[in-house]
Subunit: 348 residues, 2 copies
């Protein structure tokens, strides 16, 4: 079990991320991995931290905390096209200032589902390090990290890799960039000859240097199985099905939901979105509650006005998506969302 | 599930640690929790970091990393009596220098099993913060944190709380000390009104401010069950049984093992040790290998010369301990440890 973080990391690298053996570990949470990786990069680079204003909260918070702790600036940029998210041109412009230390960008935007041009942004960023957050893409959209020239990434395994809530996350560093980085958390699982125990800290030369405490084996086994199933199905087939499933939502929206006050909050071109679709509606919160309480459909509410419908291409069927949309339409037509307790709660 | 870190934390606080509701979360690893807590304390205090030279490797490494990152000194002190570990007098002397920011001390020493006088050390430390590592005591020895006046602690759940390798760890901060501290990892699970998502970081007022990413639910459920069983058995009964089990090892050592070149590496007084016993022997490594390979007994090798025998008082029986000792004696008498492959491996 002691090698599970790299063994499962290798499965993930080869089967899902398009990376090489020895470039990925599975450990800790996405938040902790993002902290370790961005902190390590900042040790070697002056300048501001950069991300887009619509990036996932924990990404913004981690950067905000690092900026505060190091007396750096956190710069949030607005993409020219907010629906489609950061473009290569946006990133080229944002890093054109010589004082950018690094940027953190999500491959698929949590709110709109917009798919970023990973390869194009890497090229546009030049020597400025981009840390990719693959949480909303890993297992649903191929990242092809090696081919795209990506150097750094983190991401979760509990969304499209199906490893269960809070399953351990992953951290990717391209082989040639590993030895220059040192995690800020000096833990015993990163120590060379770990069980000698009597010496000063001397981290492993490879990707293991980003480990910290004892790896969470129960969660790692769930990741392993999720990755195996994903790799077996193959990302091209998964991607094709996810495009078809989200296209069904978009078509149904146009035909039946737009008339009920919904607005598409995701890119219309299937090639520009990941595996979820946001439908905007002024009463999104009670609609989400009604879907859960009265229709056995589980969306995510994403404030202030989004009903986010995630499809898991590995097992969600077209019939299930169609049924969910029919129930959504039916309950809004009948005004059932006006009958639910609309008091806020922590999760939809 | 979203409240599992505090819900399981409350169970642990009341049933095992002698703390109050709202003072404990279960999240991340011991290493990451120690990093978060010591880093937060260092934000408010000048001076050196202190621990004893025999403390667990990850504790030393985390402090070494923090010291390096902040330009502080890491001071390792040798207890006057290394077998019995840090005493209140040792700590009083070490913190007498006005420039100590904090000290990290293990309640039970990983190597010798020595039990520290938690209450006495807290009193001796005065206003200097002590962060307790309860990894080797939680679930086997009562810490009685509130009664002892302890302010800060971390610890694992996979040793005597039986939650499985790498199960999420715990972090304790006494209620009155919480609001002054801010975790260095600003994650979305620590954010007030977490799902509003559109604002700057504003951490929860209570212990939740030390959360980071999504809590590992699979591991948390295992912790919950381990804690429930431990609380049901009750720490006084567990402690009485562990003293009796370790006393059996000590007695057997004196009668049969000392003659084979073993030396007791743990305190002789059962009141001064936790729930494991170290037996020192020049050939400890091949003896550990032979126990595993040829006798179906699983010790831990702890370098350079210790066979560490951990007893899990909740379910290890006296007969099992006696049988293990008989097998140990038998194989050393027959020289079976000279027949194993003594090449080093990462874990015993």
């Amino acid at each position: 079990w002691i090698d599970a973080p790299t063994r499962v990391g290798d499965l993930l690298a080869k089967g899902v991320l398009g990376a090489e053996n020895g470039e990925v570990i599975v450990s800790d949470s996405t938040t902790v991995n993002l902290f370790k990786l961005t902190s390590a990069i900042l040790d070697g680079r002056e300048g501001a931290l950069l991300t887009d204003a619509g990036n996932f909260p924990t990404d913004r918070y981690v950067l905000e905390g690092l900026a505060a702790g190091r007396g750096r600036e956190l710069r949030l940029f607005e993409p020219a096209d907010t629906l489609h998210g950061p473009s290569p041109e946006d990133v080229a412009q944002a890093v054109a200032h010589a004082d950018v230390a690094l940027a953190v960008i999500s491959h698929v935007a949590y709110s709109s589902g917009a798919l970023a041009d990973l390869k194009g942004i890497e090229a546009a960023a030049g020597s400025t390090p981009i840390v990719w957050d693959l949480s909303h893409s890993a297992g649903a959209v191929a990242a092809d990290l090696s081919a795209a020239g990506a150097r750094y990434a983190v991401g979760c395994t509990y969304k499209h890799l199906n490893a269960g809530p809070g399953a351990p996350a992953f951290l990717y560093v391209r082989e040639d960039a590993q030895s220059a980085l040192r995690s800020p958390i000096w833990g015993w699982f990163a120590q060379r000859e770990q069980f000698a125990m009597e010496r000063s800290y001397d981290p492993e030369p490879g990707i293991r240097r980003f480990l910290a405490g004892t790896p969470p084996i129960l969660g790692l086994i769930a990741v392993q199985e999720g990755v195996k199933l994903t790799a077996e199905a193959g990302l091209p087939a998964i991607r094709a099905k996810s495009e078809s499933l989200t296209e069904l939502i978009v078509t149904y929206h146009d035909e039946h939901l737009a008339a009920l006050g919904f607005e598409l909050g995701s890119p219309r071109d299937p090639g520009r979105r990941g595996a979820h679709v946001s439908l905007r509606h002024p009463l999104a919160w009670p609609i989400c509650r009604a879907l859960i309480d009265r229709a056995d459909v589980t969306p995510d509410f994403r404030g202030p006005d989004r009903v986010r419908l995630g499809v898991a291409p590995l097992y969600t069927t077209h019939v299930e998506v169609f049924d969910a949309l029919e129930r959504l339409r039916g309950l809004v037509e009948l005004g059932e969302h006006e009958l639910v307790d609309a008091a806020p709660s922590r999760v939809t």
